[in-house]
Structure formats: structure tokens, C-alpha cells
Symmetry: C3
Subunit: 451 residues, 3 copies
């Protein structure tokens, strides 16, 4: 009488999971479907199943295609390790390393997507179902999807393994879905970690998504979802979080480290929340609202922008200059309140040379409320921060803790462009730090000590 | 030597879990107790056990009764799907649907509670133990409790399957308990999702609780608990979160969608926190503090109230008018700071007709601190928002993203009633938007653009 | 073909897990290592494994030593119960108790650390690996580590079982590591719950860590980590959260109850976040920034300090007086914004006698931004709060809900010491409540009702 709805990929009769776990999982899904023949047996009939992936290395040469609800694919470890650090260690030193590759329940994505080919073809897990209702409650839990290598992107800027480019995606959900969960997963060395179209009531919670070109992309449209409590960091030319035409998204309690062309990039997102996150970036454009982004809340976040401390990545950035703003806002009626924003940067790195960096940049829109933000800007002596750093870790921690010997850096804490009117800026910089047309906007400067 | 403390309901010797999982689980609990005969064997003796529910459809015809600590009941999927959408599709179209019923590890609650009978009798899982110590560390994880149907409530307002009424409860904890966990669960079509009396150090985390009359009700009294990172939404006549005589409750990182007569309703709750949530409602009274609610913090939340976009539910609401307030506050020394509050509503829906809606309504109390809230109120052309919406999802997303063509709506951002004195209202509306007796309260208006 | 990377401690061939689970787990780790002989087999080779601990009582007499990546140790229940309440019930009443000991998957730490011996020797789980790369992605999940007893600490203040002293640690990580996860665990009656040196991308999420001398100590240095969504509370002479030389730590969504000499203690921490937490303490010094703590954000937290209501602990405290501050801040450019802070204390408990208690105390530093905090201070009649409290629970809830009959207590809401200059204090107390040199700092008082 034991349940047939539990499958261990290492015990399945078809295929070899170590050679091609894709073939195995697709065969299991076919088995589940063959047993789900009746739609409404005693008010049930299609409960789904668990596919369990024990700790191990599993090559994936066939894309997994999911078109049934209530499927749970679960492993026994997110298995992250920094592949980026390893690939920047000379290969003749690899023999001395304890570990070379990620681990846990690890999918090695051996798909060979064509350059410039259809993006969906490079996905390890592909979800799509047409018709009604939307596919629901698929869960991904606690395994590792490893894209293995980046490749030469033809741009000549980065070493092949540093390009964040390989045409591979971890999980690609092509159409409308409801109440999916992605939890406790690891994603590494994928050009796209998670790409989802038309999400509803989605939960992406407590994952580790790093060293991916992009981490999370919510495309098409969507509503009422949460991205919470993740550790993340995209590549220098991708997004850590991207969302499009979304309403009611909650982004909270994430620790998003560099790089990422943006930490969060919203395109025409409304009535969404970005609160209680920690954001760290090496470039301007940490938070971008483009298109018509309205009535969003950005509150109680910590933003830090400093200079790339790790030599292998120091030539790379997102191409934006310091007049772009750490936060670049287009849209109406957004609230940017109670955030701490730190920028620390050697003056020699400022672009254009000699510019006064902009922190919060309201490009266009009306009715935005920018209040009670504390902006700290400092500069430091060139090169000093990395002296004696024995590793990427100590370089980074050293840079993070370098606050003592810093001099104040003059910045524009808030710049409200001429196109933007009827905005309100309160307690987010002094008279001399804020650029705003007070005849069409409201302003109250932060009181200045001793004045 | 393999552990005896692990039970798979599909492998247990007594009962048939597909016919009555209640009988099976009760029999397993009896077995656990029969083996826990000695209180203090080598400083142990009663460690508890796991009861595992594989993916599948399990009817429950006997209430599960739990009276031992350290029991963990876990499944393999929360299994949510919208039953509400399905029940509002004509039944002759059901044959074309891929899925009819929720899934995962799904309990079908086939209890037949009497109308007006004792509420606890309609609970699928009932927990109670008298004596000392309090029952501790029971865990519910990753399965689905499905109440199956709502029924005619005799009120004549809603179709039977839209009444949110059936006398069923998912988990009912009748008395004092400590350190319980409810995680990764799904609750659907229950009149009460989770009802708990006298909670201490409770964690309700990362669940999916929707299309229930009420989602979470913390009754009696309680302390030091958390409701975090859940996706939730109650029916039009129930609570998404209710708490009573509670101290030190933390409500954070939840995405609470409609409907819910309230998103959060506190009755005599003190020194608790509501922060970093996203709340969406179709009616006034999103947040209600009644009785003596004191020293609570409401911060960094996003509130949105708009009009019900889905035809089957458009005749239903919580009966409150627009003078009640989106936030209705009675009590002392509460902090309402750094929230974004959006209201968008066609003027034809405002009740009483022609009224100026109230957003934050301080009904009574002293020492409340209402500061740095950004309130956005807009109106829209009647009916326009749903034009061309092909489904509930696209109607909802369309409404959420409708911010472009909106006109400003005049509202009272804060109304402090005569009974309330010694309150402080700062930067939460202009002179003309706030109604407050400045001789007995403190006020600083948000500066107005261009003035 | 079934995976060999899954081990159940009750089915392992070596040792007896009930007698000494340490020997069993070490033997399993040795087996894993014996099978991981090749570093780079087809881009894999060392995936790790799961060690599963079913519900049960497992004595640990040998320290577990972990030096491989991707190991997951998981149980079936966090098993917390209050041992503190039990040890303060006369032993002749124990026979009437339902449960005496914690449960779930419970490790009974039977190590006998020498008094004053090396701290690491008292650790149940000890992690260390030298060389490169750092050990990665070890996961601890959903089991209980029970230190069993506290012992006489020779100080004569507390009964032996109330000393929070026994030389035992739950998890001790001695050196640099990456992407570890500690989730769903229970820790009880350990002098140190979790001690970690040089953490990177660590996640401590959704645990129950209570009745430990210290809960979480992040020592050495570290970066880019999160402590989220935990229920915690340390002893009267230890830390609930301690971090040292850390950058980019995110502390959010935790409910931290008493006691704890501090709820959070930072030593030279920079660019970190403490947001959306609920903190409750019985002493001053709830949040301490010592050394050079810079550019940190403290926002949207609820702080409550009241008087110890439970007789067995009423003679004990952290030794700090009411001039120390509930928040004691040394450092530059920190943001303390949008917090609610409640203090309620009988005047007879104030030390030094007759002093005006300090809430936010800026001891030294420049550029700190303290804005929009709501501070509520009240006093109550001596002894009244515990009248009729039948238990620790009802005493605590009673105290938490005691807000009605309180009189206002005069406090200094913010004290900026002479050594601290160029700080900004806005809307965090009235002219008479804030002590600050306005010639070298900036100040705007909260408007006073009726003035």
C-alpha cells in the first residue's frame, strides 16, 4: 500500500541519473501522468508527486519539461561554492584544492545552447502548460543547478569564465502559473538563474543564487508574489532581481551582494514593496525604476555602493556613470523612506571625472515622496583598501570595514529633474545637497549640525 | 535498529489513509504513546515522532486529536490551487480543465460539522492537553488541508461556494502550547484556517493560506510569536490575521491579498509589530485596532485598497463605509510610521455617497505617533479597469497596474477624533488633508509642492 | 543503484547512536571521505551527503568533527521545551509532568568540558578545515541540541540550573567558511548556541534558540550574511546576537525575547542592518554598538524593556544601570530611524535611584542620524504586575499587556554625549527629552501636543 507518488531518481527503472537526470525525470513525469488518468475521482485524482534527488553529481543532457501541477522536486543540499574564485585561481594550483565543484544534490547542466539561440532551449527545467487552470503549486527545493562554465562572449572585456554568459537557465517558466515555490535552492554559473513569465502568488524564499548572469527575472506580468530571505548576487551585466508589469510584489529580507548591473530593476511595476533588504553594489544604478513605476514603497533598506575590490573583476562594470544615481527613479507616487544609503569611492574612480555623484535621481514623475533617508558619502585613498588582502574574502571584508580613515565626499543626495514636478523631498539632504525646483516641488532640508 | 519514530501513513497497519487518514493518524499517535511509557529514561524517553504523508488524496472522516509534544506531521506539497476560480466556472466546462482539485499531500476534510455546532468539532486537526507542561514543539509542515466546499450560509448574499462558510477548521489548538511550528502548509476552502488559543513562541512561517473564511486567529491570549513570510488572503467576512490579548507578536514579510474583512485585526494587543508587509484589500478596515491596543508598531508596510475587480465577488464586501478608515485605530502610544498607503476607487463606489474617504482613523486613545506616511488617493473611470480582462488573473493584474490614467481623489489622510488627545501627526498629510484638534494634539503637515 | 549518499544514524553499522551519536556521525563522515577519493571526476566527485537523525534521544559523548563541504545533517523536529521552567519546579512535582525533557531529533550533549578549559572542546559539532577553498554549504536542519544542565558558576548569584553556564556549545565553526545554512534547529541549555568565526554568506534562518547563555556569536570577521526569522532569547549574562568586524550583516524578522545581556551587540560592525525585529529585554543595553560601528541601519524595530516578572530570575540582571541607555551607540554615520521603543519600569527598580533613564545613548561618534523614533516610557505600581499570575506564561503575558494603568515616566529619549559631534536628531523626543549640544549637532524636537 506504500505510496507510488514518491520517486528517487537513483532508483528509477529508466535511464541513468548520473549520465542524464533529464531523461530520468521526464520519464518519471510521464509515469505520473500515466497514472493520473481520471480528472475527478472522488474529488481528487491528480495529487502530484515528489521526485527526490539524493546528494550526488547528476549530469543533465535532456531538458526537464514540467506540465503537471503539484510536482515537488527536492534535493538534499543547495551545494553552493564559489566557482568564480576557483576559475580565477591558476589551474596548476587546482590540485591543492579540497573541492573543485559545487555539491549537494547537484545538477550539472550539460545542455549546449546555441549562441543566440532561443533562450528557453538552454533551460535545465522548463515549465509550460496551456489551457486552464494555470499550472499550480510546483515546488523546487534544496538542490543545486550548476551551469558549470561561462564562455567567451565575443565582447573582449572579460576572461571566458568571467563573462556570465553561457545561454543556460536554471528554471524557466514560460507561461502563467499559480502558487509555485522555490525554496532552499542553489544556483551557480547560469546566465539566468530563474526566469518566470506571468507569476501569481509565487514564493522565492531562502535560496542561494549567486555567480549567475541574472538571478531572478519576472517577465510578462504578475501579481501578489514574494521574493524573501534570499542570498543573491548577479554578474556585472545582469539583474539580481528584475520585474516587469508586476503588481503587489514583496521584496523583503534579502541580502543582495555584488555584482549585478542592478540589485533591483523594475520595469512598469506598481504597488510593490522593497523593504528591509541589504543591497551592496559596485556600480551606480543599484535600484532602477523604469517605464511607469508607481506607488511603490522603498523603505528600511541598506544600500552600499563601493568600488570593486577584487582584481579579476576590476575592469568590468555596468557602464553607468555617477550622475545616473544609485537609485534612478521614473514614475509617480513612489515612497522612498527611511533608507540608509552609503557610497564610498575613491575620487579617481568617479565618472565623469570630477563629477559630483548623484545618490537618488528622480528622472521623471510626480507625487514621489522621498523622506527621512540618511545618505553617507565618503572617499578613500586609492588602492589602499586592498593592501595586504590575502584573498577575495579578506579583500571584501576589509573594504566593508574600511570606514575609519575616510573623508567626506560631496554628493547630490537627491536630484529631481526638471521633468519631475509635485514631488516631496524631506529630511534627505541639506539645502546644498539637494537639487530641486522648489516652485513646483516640496522640500525640507535635513538640519545641518551647528547651523 | 532502524528508528521506530517514523511513520508513513500509507504503510501503517491500521486503517486506510485514503478513506480516513484521521483514523490512521490517531492510531499512529496511540502507538507512539504506547511506546512512551517512561517519563525519564536516561534524561529522555518521549522524543516524539514524524508522521509522513506522501503526495496523494486522503479523505479525513475522523478528527485527528493530538496530545503529545514533539509530533511532526509532514507532507510533500502544499498543493494550493484556486478552488474559488473553479467553482465560478460553469460546471459543463470542467471537463476541459487540467486540474479540478488541490493536490500535493492533500487532506480532504470530510467532516460534517453541524450548522451552529461547536466550532472545535469541525477541525481536521485538534490539539489539546491539560496539565503541565504545556504541549510543545508540534510541527505541521508542507501538506494541504482542503475544506472542499463552502455551503449556503442562509444570508442570501453569496452563491453557496462563495460564502466562505462550512464550519470547518484546518488546525485548531484549544489551549496553551509552546514553540509550535506551522511551515510550508497549504490551506484552502476552510471557514477557519488556523485557530490557536494561548500561543507562546509560535511560528507560522512561509505558508499558503487562501480562500479561507479566516486565515489565522490567535485567540485567548499569547506572547512572543511570529507570523512571517506567508501568502494569505481571507474571505470577505473573515480575518486574514486576528490576534487577541497578545503581547510581542511579530507580523512581518507577509503578502496578504484580498479579500479579508481585515488584513490584520488586533483586539487588545500590545507591544507588537506589523512591519514590512504588503497588504491588499477591497474594503475599508484593512487594519483594525480595537479594545485597548497599545504601544504597537506599524511600519514600512504597503497598503493598497481598490475595488473588487472580479465579477463573482463584486456584490460582496465587509459592510464598512469609507469613513471607517483603511486603518482604524483605538488605543494608546501606537506608532504608525513610514508606511505607503494607496487607495484607488471610482467615486461611484464611495459610501456614503459623496463622502471624503478616511485613510488613517484614530478613533480614540492618546500618545499615538503617526509620522512620515505617504498616502496616495486616486479615482478612475467606472468599469474601465476590467475591460477586456480575459480572466481573474488578468483582471487583477490589470487593476493593479492601472495607475496611469488616474485622477487625484480628495481624502482625509488622518482623522483624529475628538475623543483622542495628545497624539502626534507628522508629515502624513497636508493641513487640508488632516483633521485634528491642534490644541490637544501635535501636528506638522507634509509640505505641499509649490506652496 | 540507490544513492550511497544518504545515511540514517539508526541504521549505520558502526557505533550505537543512542549511546554516542558523535561516534556514529564521525564514522559516517569517515565513510563519505573514503568514497570521495578523486577531486575531479567528470567535473564532480565530492558532492557531500545527508546524515539523517530520526526523532529520538541520542546521547553525544564524542564531539562531531566536520571537515567536508556539502554535508547536511538533518533531523525531524527542533524539539524545544522550556527546561528553565522545569528546573524551577520542585523536583517532587516532576512525576506529575507530561514531559520532562526536550524532544524531536534530540542530541543530549554529554561532553564534560573542563571548567575554564578550551571553549571549542565543549562543542557538540565542531567544524574546521584549513587550506583552500573554504569549507562550503554545510547545512544543519531541524534537530535539537540540548546541553541538559547548567552548573554552579561559582559566582553565587544563581541556582546552578539558572547560571547559563556549562562550557557547552551547540555548533562551533572554528574558521572561514562559505554559504552555510542553519535552519529549523532547536538549541537549549547550552552556554553557547552557535559560535562562528569568519562567516561569509551565512544563513541562520527560522531557528529556535532559547535558554542558552548566548544564542549566536559571529566572531573574527565576516560579511554578507543573514540572521532572519528566528525565535531567540539568551541568558542574563550573554548575547542573543553578537557580531564582530562584520560587514553587510542583515538581522531582520527575528523575535528576540528576554533575557540576554543584549539583544544585539555589535563590536566594530559596519554597513549592516537591523530592521523589522521585535526585541524584548529586562535590562538596559538591549542594543550595543561598541568599537567602531559605522554606517549601520537600525529601522522599524520594536524595542520593549520592562522588569523581570518571573521570581526565579528576579535577582539576576546584566549589571547595567538606567543611564547606560536601552540603545548604547559608539560609532559614526549610523541610522536609527522609525523605531518604536517602549520602557515600562517601576521607579523603585531604576538604578541609580532617582535617575532619569536614558533610552538612546550616543556615547561617541559623528554623523549619526537618529530620526522619527517613537519612545514611550511608563511606570507602574510595585509588585502589581504579577498578582495572581499562575505561571511564568501568564506572568509574562500579563506584564506585556499591562499598559492601561500606567503613568508617564520621565526619560531622556536621546542623550548625545559631549564627545559626539555632527550628529542629527530629528523627531525623536521633545526639547526637554533630548540632551544634545546644538552648537555642534543638529536637532529638531518632536512637536509637543497642545504646545
Amino acid at each position: 500500500m506504500a505510496s507510488k507518488n514518491y520517486y528517487d531518481v537513483t532508483e528509477w527503472k529508466i535511464g541513468n541519473p548520473y549520465e542524464d537526470i533529464g531523461e530520468v525525470i521526464n520519464s518519471i513525469i510521464a509515469d505520473i501522468k500515466s497514472r493520473q488518468t481520471e480528472l475527478d475521482v472522488n474529488e481528487g485524482g491528480k495529487p502530484g508527486a515528489v521526485i527526490y534527488i539524493p546528494s550526488g553529481d547528476y549530469h543533465l543532457r535532456t531538458q526537464v519539461v514540467i506540465d503537471i501541477s503539484y510536482l515537488k522536486i527536492m534535493g538534499a543540499g543547495h551545494g553552493f561554492i564559489s566557482s568564480s574564485i576557483r576559475f580565477n585561481i591558476p589551474q596548476n594550483e587546482w590540485a591543492e584544492l579540497h573541492d573543485l565543484w559545487p555539491g549537494g544534490s547537484r545538477i550539472l547542466v550539460d545542455l549546449m545552447p546555441e549562441a543566440g539561440g532561443e533562450e528557453a532551449k538552454g533551460a535545465a527545467f522548463y515549465v509550460e502548460r496551456s489551457g486552464d487552470p494555470r499550472i499550480s503549486s510546483v515546488e523546487f527545493e534544496n538542490f543545486c543547478i550548476d551551469g558549470l562554465h561561462f564562455v567567451d562572449d565575443g565582447l573582449g572585456k572579460a576572461e571566458p569564465e568571467n563573462t556570465y554568459t553561457n545561454g543556460k537557465t536554471g528554471i524557466y517558466i514560460a507561461g502563467a502559473q499559480d502558487s509555485f515555490r522555490i525554496t532552499g535552492m542553489g544556483f551557480v554559473y547560469l546566465e539566468h538563474g530563474i526566469t518566470i513569465y506571468d507569476a501569481d502568488a509565487l514564493s522565492i524564499h531562502d535560496n542561494f543564487i549567486a555567480e549567475c548572469g541574472n538571478c531572478i527575472e519576472l517577465r510578462g506580468s504578475g501579481q501578489a508574489s514574494k521574493i524573501t530571505d534570499n542570498l543573491m548576487g548577479a554578474g556585472y551585466k545582469g539583474y539580481s532581481i528584475f520585474a516587469q508589469n508586476f503588481g503587489g510584489l514583496l521584496v523583503t529580507a534579502n541580502n543582495i551582494f555584488p555584482r549585478g548591473t542592478s540589485s533591483v530593476h523594475f520595469d512598469s511595476v506598481a504597488r510593490s514593496s522593497i523593504t528591509s533588504n541589504r543591497f551592496h553594489s559596485f556600480y551606480p544604478g543599484m535600484l532602477v525604476f523604469e517605464g511607469s513605476c508607481s506607488e511603490n514603497l522603498v523603505s528600511s533598506n541598506h544600500f552600499l555602493r563601493d568600488h570593486e575590490p577584487w582584481p579579476p573583476m576590476q575592469g568590468l562594470d555596468n557602464g553607468l556613470d555617477d550622475l545616473f544615481g544609485l537609485l534612478n527613479i521614473s514614475g509617480d507616487h513612489n515612497s522612498i523612506v527611511s533608507n540608509h544609503i552609503s557610497e564610498t569611492i575613491g575620487t579617481q574612480y568617479i565618472k565623469p571625472e570630477g563629477a559630483r555623484p548623484v545618490i537618488i535621481h528622480v528622472v521623471s514623475g510626480k507625487g514621489n515622496h522621498i523622506s527621512n533617508n540618511h545618505i553617507v558619502a565618503t572617499t578613500e585613498t586609492a588602492g589602499e583598501q586592498n593592501d595586504g588582502a590575502a584573498s577575495c574574502f579578506s579583500a571584501q571584508v576589509g573594504a566593508l570595514l574600511t570606514t575609519d580613515r575616510l573623508a567626506e565626499l560631496e554628493v547630490t543626495t537627491v536630484l529631481v529633474e526638471k521633468e519631475a514636478v509635485q514631488n516631496t523631498v524631506l529630511d534627505s539632504g541639506s539645502e546644498t545637497q539637494v537639487i530641486i525646483d522648489k516652485t513646483v516641488n516640496a522640500f525640507r532640508g535635513t538640519p545641518v549640525p551647528g547651523v
